[in-house]
C-alpha cells in the first residue's frame, strides 16, 4: 500500500531538515536499509535510510527544500499504485506545516505543492477534504494554555508526533521561545525602507541552534568569569620533547596537553564536572570534554571522552579525527553530545584572552588564549616567559568563586609543572 514518507528525526535536537539530495529517483526501487536521501540537519548531513523496501513513487520535497519533522517528503509504495489521495493529503499537510513560518498566507504554499504534482492534478482538485484548512494539531492542555495566555497557535511549532503542539511548546513560547529544542515562536525579520541594502539568507539549522542554545545560556545561567595567567614554558618543553621522539603523524599540540590537564583537573574537582538540573546537581564520573571546532557554517563541539585516562598522542589523534569529521559534517550525534565541560581555544587566531559562553547543561567552559612571550619578573630579574591567559566561565548555580579558583589552581599547577600530572 502506498504510504507517506515522513521527515524522520535524524539528530537529537533536529526540528526540521533540508533535503541535501535524493540518492534515488522517482520510480526507483529500494530495499530496507538503502539510503534514500541525504538530509542536512541542525548538526550534520545525515543519510536517511529506508526501514522497508518499496518504490519511490513521488518526491514531494525536492533537493534544497526544507521539511519539518513528520512532514511528508515523499510517497512510497508499489509501482502503479493510485496515490492521488495521498498527494492531496500531503499538499494540505504541507500548508499546515508551513503555517508557522508564513502565518498569513498558507494558501499559496498549498497551491505550490499541488502544482508540483501537476500530472495527477485532476483528482487533487476534487479531493479537498483537508487541503488548505490549516488545521492545527494541539493537545487539550496546550490549547487551553494558549487561549489563557493569548498565544497564537499558528505561530508555534509542535514538537509532538505529527507536529502536535504540546504543553512544553506553549511553555517554551511563553518563556520567549527556544528552550530545550522544542517549539519556538516564528519571527518576521523587519524590513527597513530607505536604509542600507541588505541580503537575506535563510537562517541555517546550525545558526538557529547556536542562537537558541546561547540565548538559553546567557539568560538563565548566572555566569561569572575567572582569569589566570599560566607560564607555559615547561609544557612547551614537554611538547617539544615528545614531538622529537614520535613519528610525524603522532605529533601533539599544546591543545592536546591542555585537554588532558583539564580532564585530570576535572576529576579532582567534581563540582566543576557537574550540571545544575533544577532539583538536583548531577556530578559526572568521567570528564567528557567538548572541543569547540570552527567549521564553515559555525561551530560544533565534538567530545573527547575520559581524556584523563588517555595519552597525549591518543588525544591528539582523536581530536584530529573528530575535527575532520566535523568539517565534512559526518559527526554522529553521540560524537558531539553529552560533554560535561568544554574548551574553546582561539590561540591559533592570535587571541590573547577572551570569555566563552557556557554550553548548558555543562557548568563551565575554558577559554584559552595563545601563549605569548612576555617580560615577567622572576626572582628579582626580568626574564621572558611564555604566558597563556585562560578564562573560565562558571555556572554559579553549581560552581562558586572559590570552587572555580581551586580548579584553575590545579589546572595551572599541572601545566606549569607537568610532573604534577603524575601525582
Amino acid at each position: 500500500m502506498a504510504e507517506k514518507f515522513l521527515m524522520p528525526k535524524l539528530s537529537p535536537t533536529m526540528e526540521e531538515g533540508q533535503i541535501s539530495r535524493w540518492v534515488i529517483n522517482e520510480g526507483d526501487d529500494f530495499s530496507a536499509g538503502d539510503t534514500l536521501a541525504e538530509v542536512d540537519t541542525d548538526k550534520a548531513t545525515m543519510e536517511m535510510t529506508a526501514l522497508t523496501g518499496g518504490t519511490l513513487l513521488k518526491v514531494i520535497k525536492p533537493a534544497g527544500s526544507t521539511a519539518a519533522l513528520g512532514e511528508t517528503i515523499a510517497i512510497t509504495g508499489k509501482k502503479g499504485e493510485d496515490i492521488t489521495a495521498l498527494l492531496a493529503e500531503a499538499s494540505s499537510n504541507g500548508s499546515e506545516k508551513k503555517a508557522p513560518a508564513e502565518p498569513k498566507e498558507p494558501a499559496p504554499v498549498a497551491a505550490a505543492a499541488v502544482a508540483s504534482t501537476a500530472e495527477v492534478s485532476a483528482p487533487v482538485a476534487t479531493s479537498t477534504s483537508k487541503a488548505g484548512n490549516g488545521r492545527v494539531i494541539v493537545s487539550p492542555i496546550a490549547a487551553r494554555m494558549a487561549a489563557d495566555n493569548g498565544v497564537d497557535l499558528r505561530a508555534v511549532i509542535g514538537s509532538g508526533p505529527n507536529g502536535r503542539i504540546i504543553k512544553r511548546d506553549i511553555e517554551a513560547a511563553l518563556a520567549g521561545g527556544g528552550s530545550s529544542g522544542s517549539g519556538r515562536v516564528a519571527f518576521t525579520p523587519s524590513t527597513v525602507v530607505g536604509a542600507s541594502a541588505y541580503n537575506d539568507e535563510p537562517t541555517s539549522q546550525m545558526r538557529r541552534v547556536i542562537a537558541s542554545r546561547l540565548a538559553e545560556s546567557i539568560g538563565p545561567v548566572p555566569t561569572f568569569y575567572l582569569t589566570t595567567e599560566i607560564e607555559m614554558d615547561n609544557a612547551l618543553d614537554l611538547r617539544r620533547a615528545i614531538n622529537a621522539s614520535v613519528p610525524d603523524e603522532q605529533k601533539i599540540s599544546v591543545n592536546d596537553i591542555i585537554v588532558k590537564v583539564a580532564a585530570l583537573s576535572l576529576v579532582k574537582h567534581p563540582y566543576v564536572n557537574a550540571s545544575y538540573q533544577g532539583d538536583k546537581i548531577r556530578f559526572y564520573e568521567q570528564p567528557d570534554i567538548g572541543i569547540a571546532v570552527a567549521i564553515d557554517e559555525g561551530l560544533i563541539t565534538p567530545v573527547v571522552r575520559g581524556a584523563n585516562l588517555k595519552g597525549f598522542v591518543e588525544i591528539g589523534a582523536e581530536i584530529r579525527d573528530l575535527a575532520a569529521k566535523a568539517r565534512s559534517k559526518k559527526l554522529l550525534p553521540e560524537e558531539y553530545t553529552g560533554a560535561t565541560f568544554s574548551i574553546s581555544n582561539l590561540g591559533m587566531f592570535g587571541i590573547k584572552e577572551f570569555t566563552a559562553i557556557i554550553n548548558p547543561p555543562e557548568a563551565g567552559i575554558l577559554a584559552v588564549g595563545n601563549a605569548v612571550p612576555t617580560a615577567v619578573v622572576r626572582e628579582g630579574a626580568v626574564v621572558v616567559r611564555n604566558i597563556m591567559n585562560v578564562t573560565m566561565s562558571c555556572d554559579h548555580r553549581v560552581i562558586d568563586g572559590a570552587t572555580g579558583a581551586k580548579f584553575l589552581q590545579t589546572f595551572k599547577q599541572m601545566l606549569e609543572q607537568p610532573a604534577m600530572m603524575l601525582v
Binding site: I141, I166, R168, Q277
Partner: protein
Amino acid sequence: MAVLTIRDALNEALREEILRDENVFVMGEEVAEYDGAYKVTRGLWKEFGDKRVVDTPITELGFAAVGVGAAMAGLRPVIEFMTWNFSILASDQIINHAAKMLYMSGGQFKVPIVFRGPNGSAFQVSSQHSQALEAFYANFPGLKVVMPSTAADAKGLLKSSIRDDNPVIFLEQERMYGLKGEVPEGDDFIIPLGLADIKREGTDCTIVARSMTVPLALQAAEKIQAEFDVSVEVVDPRTIKPLDIDTIVGSVQKTNRLVIAEESHEFASVGAEITYQVMDRAFDHLDAPIKRVSTAETPMPYAKNLEAAALPSVEKIIAAVKDVCYL
C-alpha cells in the same frame, strides 16, 4: 507497626472480624481443616471451630447460594473462592441474586456478603486459572469491587468489606500473598471503601495501577526518575467500585499525562472506564492521549516466556510513560 505479609494481614482481618461480630463466618473449599489453599484462613478453624469456619464440597454455585441466603437471613458470610476463576460457576448467585436482592425486594433484604480469593495470573497456571475478573464484576450495579495491593490495604479494606451491608467482590492476587508491608496495629484499623491512595507522589505523569501492577508501576517510576528525570505519580484506586475518580482526576490535572496499568485484558476493561471518565472530567488537562498497559488479547499461555510476554511488565509501563511524556 507490625510488618506482615498480605496473606497474614488478611488472616488478621478475618480473625478480628470473627471476634468482633458473632454473625461473621468463613466458608469455602479447604478453608477449615486444611487452613485454606493459600493459607489465608490459617488457624481460624482451630480457634473458632466448625460453626464459624466451614469447609464445603467442590460446589461453587451451591456454597455461594448458601452464603447469599445466610446473608439475607442476617449473617455476614465471607465466601472464599479457591481462585476467582471458579467464581464463574457461581456467578449466577453473585450477579443475579446477591447484586439484585436489595433492589428487587424493594429494600427488604440486604446481602452483607464478601466473596474473596485470588484474582489474575499466578505462576504458569495457564488459560483457565489466570483470569482477572474485575471488569466483569464491576459491570453490574449492586456489587462493590475491591483490589488491595499492600498488606495494610488488604487488612483495612477486608474489614471494611465485611462490615459493609452490600455484596463485595474482594480480589486478591496469588503472586502478592507473600509481599510484606507495615500494618498499623490495633483491631480497629479500617480503610473506607471508595478511597484511592497515592502510592508515590510525582509531577510529570500519572500511572493508575491496581493490585499486581502497583509494585510494577512503582519500580517503573523509580527507573524513569533515574533515567529521564521524569517524576511519576502512582495512584492506586484500591476500590474499583465505587471508584475514587476525584483523586485520579486531581492527579491528572497536576501531571497532564495518564498511563493505566492493569492485569486484565484491555477490551472493555476498568482502564477503559477510567480513560472515559478522565476524558469526560479532565479533557482540557490532557497533554497526550491516555495509554494503557494491559494483558494481551489471548487466553493466558502456559509457556513461561509467553506468559511473561502477555502480562504487563515494568518495561511495558516505562514504554507507555515515555510515549505520553513524548520522550
